[in-house]
Symmetry: D2
Subunit: 147 residues, 4 copies
């Protein structure tokens, strides 16, 4: 059972903008990357291709509060915490720590809610229960971690 995952990445030049900082939309890409790494750490891909029909986890809510900018080549630690677990949905709290300063500093905090869906042959999605083998490995983080 897991409720947390941490990942470090270094800001790439293509992720910055003309203000000299990481473009705010890229924090959402970082959030997704840590989620996918979390799934892999549990032995699963977020694209559950071996299910019939194939399952996926589209996002239904995403948000981020930005405190300090990230810059080119900064190393950022992205921490995922499982905030809520429902039969068909997961909500993560995601924190961004810049390791460019000592001590490390939280520069942003986000929330991501994803829903498990089956993909119909016509391309539409229908929400469905998270497969048991995956759901059984995920638990909500203790309250003191989420505060």
């Amino acid at each position: 059972m897991a409720y947390e995952f941490r990942l470090q990445r270094r800001v790439e030049f293509s992720e910055t903008d003309a203000a000299g900082i990481v473009h705010f939309s890229n924090f959402f890409r970082y959030m997704e990357s840590v989620e996918h790494a979390f799934f892999r750490s549990l032995g699963h891909s977020v694209m559950l291709r071996d299910h019939q029909p194939p399952l996926g986890f589209p996002r239904v809510h995403a948000e981020c509060d930005y405190r300090s900018p990230l810059r080119f080549e900064d190393v950022v630690e992205v921490q995922l915490l499982v905030q809520e677990k429902k039969p068909k949905a997961l909500t993560y709290q995601i924190r961004f720590y810049s390791l460019a300063t000592q001590p490390a500093r939280e520069v942003a905090r986000g929330v991501l809610t994803v829903v498990c869906v089956a993909k119909n042959p016509d391309g539409t999605f229908v929400s469905t229960r998270i497969p048991h083998d995956l759901a059984g490995k995920i638990e909500v983080a203790p309250a003191e971690f989420l505060a």
Copy 2:
């Protein structure tokens, strides 16, 4: 005085992902684009380069609720409504309507809060009042528009 702006754009292939839909992070890029077009419609750039020191509008909060996916070549109308106006900050509500179906359908709704900052010579930002000539052209949308 303006409180609303609408922009149409067509989904580009590079904005889609392997799920066959617009990647959720790109809705935030769309939000920013309509904000900048709104500023241009008022005769201003979001990069106020003629101010000394130069001013900018970094995002301090961004969120989005996703209802239905957008796909390649869908035409989407993005509507910006001014939800809140403070001396140093603006909050927009932003609605996404897919014109791929008849009638048009709201597929997502977001919120963006930006703060006016001056850029110090050392690259750091300090929040500052929105310049009077720009602030004087922006007003909050009527409550019934925001509901």
Copy 3:
């Protein structure tokens, strides 16, 4: 029969980088966008979904020479010229003109070669002839246009 297409777009903030200019990778996204608009102008989507199996046009070669940078809010005219037409492949020459200066100035020039493929049920691609109804609408640009 068509051999040329022009499209104007305005540089978005998310397309710039910390050097204050459009990130070089985005010129390739612009190239693709003008290709897709060219196809639409002929009454086709680049995703030929009504074919069985579905057809697509993955890129096999892409290149760009950069002469001058593009900046935020510059308006750029992207011109596609059909440089070569084969039964299964098309090569475009693509020119970028900045309209931010008078007279307009060519700031970059690219080449894109795409191949028509059918997508097998297992996800692999096999090259195939460009459908007759599409191929019949496309011709190579006169030599003096391409020089």
Copy 4:
């Protein structure tokens, strides 16, 4: 003296497109990332901020030949080889190997030419010699590596 650098990365979901493969423009972002990692391995940042005026390395030419697609979660090894070294410019050959198959397979090959520039106070660039301390650490790869 160094003429080669290798980097592994895993394909992120946001880098894929609706064809289910890595969008072709992202190979150019990967190329830049390995270049920057190469510079860091030599003790330098590609943004030479400690120089007065600040130096940078805008791209003047970029190209890529695509042989096989990359897919979500594939691990790709990106190999940079120094192909040419001039007083003001560097050209790299960059090879992409998919580690998703055994044996690893070259899926794409690119070329990138960058020029050292000084950034004038007015934002324009002027080409300049690569600083001696950096240039002294870089050499051209042996011909048999580049074939």
